[in-house]
Symmetry: C3
Subunit: 184 residues, 3 copies
């Protein structure tokens, strides 16, 4: 049985993994990261030697890998998949779940973990590993808005529900409580 394939998304600094791991605590659900499954397949099939080589793949090779990954994860049927709704790149917002991925992954629910843009800005500022050209509060709000639009397009193609979960500062319990119904 199981809950099906639950996709969890959220922009960097929002704490999506923390929220979903806590919400799934004690439950018999697998937890995978889409990107990790993808690079594992690439290494196993000798496409690349390590994760750093992933970006050298052609667009065509990447799509093939995405499909293989989605097929593998889609078959798990009782799994939380950590991935991106959209990835911010210099060329714009890249959809994390384009149609060819969705049709194999068949998610039952898409969770978007959000926080106030200012909270995310401050969390990123405290993280020394982040780059020196930070997004403004306005750009963070824009990214979250585009993710909502993307998620509804994903839902249209799959029938998945879209759950917005707020992970405000010092309110992890509240976030976990909001996320819980998705796992039932």
């Amino acid at each position: 049985m199981g809950v099906g394939v639950i996709v969890v998304t959220g922009i960097p600094g929002v704490g999506k993994t923390t929220v979903m791991k806590r919400a799934a605590e004690g439950m018999d659900i697998e937890f995978v990261t889409f990107g990790t499954v993808m690079s594992d397949i690439a290494i196993k099939t000798n496409l690349v030697k390590d994760r750093d080589e992933m970006r050298k793949l052609s667009l065509e090779q990447q799509r093939t890998l995405q499909i293989k990954t989605a097929e593998k994860v889609g078959k798990m049927k009782n799994v939380i998949v950590d991935t991106h709704c959209t990835v911010k790149t210099p060329k714009g917002y890249m959809p994390g779940l384009p149609e060819w991925v969705l049709k194999k992954l068949n998610p039952t629910a898409i969770v978007i973990v959000e926080a106030d843009p200012k909270e995310i800005f401050n969390r990123r500022a405290k993280d020394a590993t982040r780059n020196r050209d930070p997004d403004t509060v306005e750009k963070i709000a824009e990214h979250q808005m585009m993710n909502r639009a993307a998620a509804m397009a994903y839902a249209t193609l799959t029938g998945a529900t879209v759950k917005i979960v707020f992970n405000h500062d010092n309110a992890l319990d509240e976030a976990v409580k909001e996320a819980s119904p998705v796992l039932q």
Copy 2:
């Protein structure tokens, strides 16, 4: 001939049915509720005994029923269909018109009836039949925003236009006037 299949949506308390019935007054257009057509089919085919049993159907059975309903309504070709852009559930916003429904329904226009979130909040508060755990004004705004995103995804798959009609307090005539071009 006719106007094709016009979908009318709007969150609870917004008055979508009132607006569209008034806009279609005196016109030769059928008016159906998607959910009613669906449960009628389920009863007629002995899947359920009454509407209350609809929620016991499996996801697979529900999809099959949705498709049959969309096929039936899609053939009417001169009809206003009352339904939901998204349904708010504990698992998140569920798309009312997923791809498999859209491809059979083939709507020519999707009307979203909206009001200010505060207006909707107050209308719901006055309605004694509503539940005791009301959405906040912020959550009402979020629901309306997600509906807009969903509607544009529906439009992308069908070519339907998306018409936003405001049904403000004491301004039904204005709303009817805004909705009218869709029926021409």
Copy 3:
């Protein structure tokens, strides 16, 4: 080689063509307008005598023409296509790139040129060729929001990135700089 098919969109008065022509200056990229290619095909195939007759075509004829146009432009593979994310009509927002167009066009990136709704309002007010029933600032904001939602649906079906470029008053250089990575 080339950059693929780059779609540039933006509501009337935003200056999308200016921004993209400047960003592509000196580069070996074709620049076409979707609507012009479409009416050229219609005239060449004797469907219409001139552009004014385009609006007399049936919905079915228009779709066939859209597909032919998308096929032609999609094959260019190193081209900027000027078109609309959504077109505002009395029946609502009409998607400029419905699924049947997207699947032939296969864009690699969709650029949305935006400005503050007030800036757009003022630019339109100064333009004597515009109609006498102007959109309010709120309606301009609504149109831009619907375009973002549409663009993410387009991206979901194609994998294209969605780049938002702000073309504020007296800041064309900034806009061109934002748009440039899409052309690399």
